[in-house]
Amino acid sequence: MKRRQINLRHILMPFVVFVFALFVLMLAVYVYNSMPIFHREGLDIYLKNMWKAAEEPSKEHYGVLVAIWGSIYTSVIAILITLPLSLAYSVFVIDYAPKRVKEWLIILSDVMAGLPTIIYGIWGVFVLVPLLKKIVMQPLHNYLSFLPMCSYPPITGFSYLSAGVLLGIMVAPFASAIIREAYQMIPFTYREAIYSLGATRLEATKILLGYIKPAIYSGIILAFGRAIGETTAVSLVIGNTFNLSLALFAPGYTISSLIANQFGNAFIYEYMTSALFAAGLVLFAIGLVVNLAGIYLLRRWEANVRL
């Protein structure tokens, strides 16, 4: 008897369709629920910094610019922190750490990647924020307060900077996992080649990191995605204030911390829930843009460089 041929594709297809449909439906829910606030505020929902909740719907006004700004600002700070951290960690683990230490360091960074974010949040509140306030914000404010970035007096320490640094630490294990993997996979012959040309270890490392640029881009994109979506820890250290500012030491909001903070009582008001959905929609858009930018970068790389 002939065994019936099962086409694997037919089995896999429904799962793919399911995932895709889920995404489309989720996006649709966000768009649908954002409609009331779009009708009321138009683009101002994204272009203004305003949060007027009122029992009388006609007095309600919302604009989530501060949260968009805060999400991007803190995530960029996070990337600036994460990049050197994860590069240094990867290079150290692969090139310098003795074999046994190396395994432990890899486990350590995997554990850090998996820690619940509330753990980072609490640590941020009790350790990181006071520390940053004392050794970074206060000195910088004292000496450089003429710079807009340092102009805000660090009273509480809860700020864009605190959120950015905490995020940078939180997402570093993710960036580092990708970068480390790629760095380890560099064919030995390129290491030999660069050292045979009389390179120092530092010079060799620089050239070899150039070789894994695509992985570094990917690591950054992944880290950025995680940073911009992170909620719990950020809500604890950002200060949750409608304060649109370049000042690093000023409190602010991010999209996810805004949603987390306001969602609980949003049902009381006519338009607030809708405003929060509209804010959430921005995260979809940013996610899309960042990933497209990543694909563009990788394409451009692949067009030139064939490894």
Partner: protein, 254 residues
Amino acid sequence: MIELALETRDLKVYYGNNMVIKGVNLKVPKNVVFALMGPSGCGKSTMLRAFNRLLELNSEARVEGEVRILGRNIYAPNVDPIEVRREVGMVFQYPNPFPHLTIYDNVAIGLKLNGLVRSKEELDKRVEWALKKAALWDEVKDRLDDYPSNLSGGQRQRLVIARALAMKPKILLMDEPTANIDPVGTKKIEELLFELKKKYTIILVTHSPAQAARVSDYVAFLYLGELIELGPTRKVFENPEHELTEQYVTGVLG
């Protein structure tokens, strides 16, 4: 007395506890092609990497004895391996130009790292000079800013030769440079060797006795980490002293 480019004295190399070069003494005169031949696994690549201290990339590897380059023992305590590598160029078994650097930068990189040129013009000139020496200039002069991905295997290998030559090394080490290259590319590189030995000393590793016979002036036969025979190429091929050598060059062995 002939001036020596390289000399080893009781050279031993270990990987962990495993001795793979077992006390080799050899002398390489200047301005010759010196072939190091032997069956696969006999220790040719290992020995070559002892000549520029590249073995130090492998924490398992340990070297004993001396390697003298132009009279100086490069394993003496006060010698900086980076300085050694600057003077001893290397070409590898698998053509390995850096894929993420342009053709130009691949040649320029050693010069830049070591600060061997003072100006952009000088760098341009030296890159052109090296590419000409490697007989690649005519093929790439219009696309110096391209990446090497479109070059053929033979062209890539000549690019690597140019990369090494650009630093004007005293000795050029080549580890089976034609092993992964088509016959046309191989012929070009072999022709190049005749040109290059006027100015450089070339130590060429090969597992092919035929290639050693074609291109070298002197030949050493290495077997299981020991130097079996060494001498002028014609003499070794026509009148080998050692039975193993005879078996190897006639193709009976490995």
